[in-house]
Subunit: 193 residues, 2 copies
Amino acid sequence: MNSLQRRILTDGDVLPGGILKVDSFLNHQVDVRLLRQMADDFYAAFQNTKIDKILTIEASGIAIACYVAERFDVPLVFAKKGRHKNVGNDVLTAEVFSFTKGTSYNVTVSRKYLQPGERVLVVDDFLANGQAVLGLKKILDEAGCELVGAAIAIEKAFQPGEKLLRDAGIDVKALAVIESMSDDGQIVFRDED
Amino acid sequence: MNSLQRRILTDGDVLPGGILKVDSFLNHQVDVRLLRQMADDFYAAFQNTKIDKILTIEASGIAIACYVAERFDVPLVFAKKGRHKNVGNDVLTAEVFSFTKGTSYNVTVSRKYLQPGERVLVVDDFLANGQAVLGLKKILDEAGCELVGAAIAIEKAFQPGEKLLRDAGIDVKALAVIESMSDDGQIVFRDED
């Protein structure tokens, strides 16, 4: 069991309806020492892959992605969310549907920070329906970059995201793959061994 | 001249109307090695102050604040922006007016992550009109925390933020204090010696 899995068991809160709150250490209050351990685990998972850049989406992906970028010694780019319609050739945009909110939002990246041929690792905190990563893939495709993988902190395996990403040819590695959560707070991780 | 000042001179873009773009290394593409150097500089500025927690606002403050939190070995909390009206006693909210956008937005922090008596250092990327820091101060006051200082990456000294914060009794330390920017791209830093 890795650092993130242990921390989820001790400090994660399971709410009815398949909601896992990790506010106390990951996406509101942040334990930066945990982030560094997670970056080591992501490095172990992708160390044989050539990576030129890390890409994430604001806001909650940024903290994790910083440490992953530092571990691989490459720049980080974070996509901006919910602003800027496509404003011409300088900006790459994708629409992302949020099942949680029932609405779509735009993610945008300046074209100059994604050069053709760059090999990009996408980092995000949660994988549920996979729409955010697919949006970033669309942007990377348009930029002529190669999406070399998706490094996810927490995956909800009971939602369709993982299959959608694998069907799109994306190498998905999640540190904590949750097979099931019961309303009484029981969390079952996928056994990766 | 510190690392951030040097980087602003080499890679910052001055646009007409007092706009400084630092997209290529600070708030879209991010050079995490620079962030670590900046954290060292903030540590030097505040090392004689007892600090229990770092507080910033999503999204662009998060990356810098991670490294400051790690340098002081304390947790980071980032305030959420533009969502959640005040939803009762569990959440602290302040309204922040954005002069850039001409509208207000809410910043919120869960009360449980700001305990009474905690000494909190606020971190942000830009100080211009000071409204974001004043909003965080209101939240900290309501939480019973002490705002021990504002660690700012880039301050525009030709805008009123610094005076407003100092008038509110806040200890402001900025790594790059810009006295003036001309439309032809000339940047003059305040001489701190």
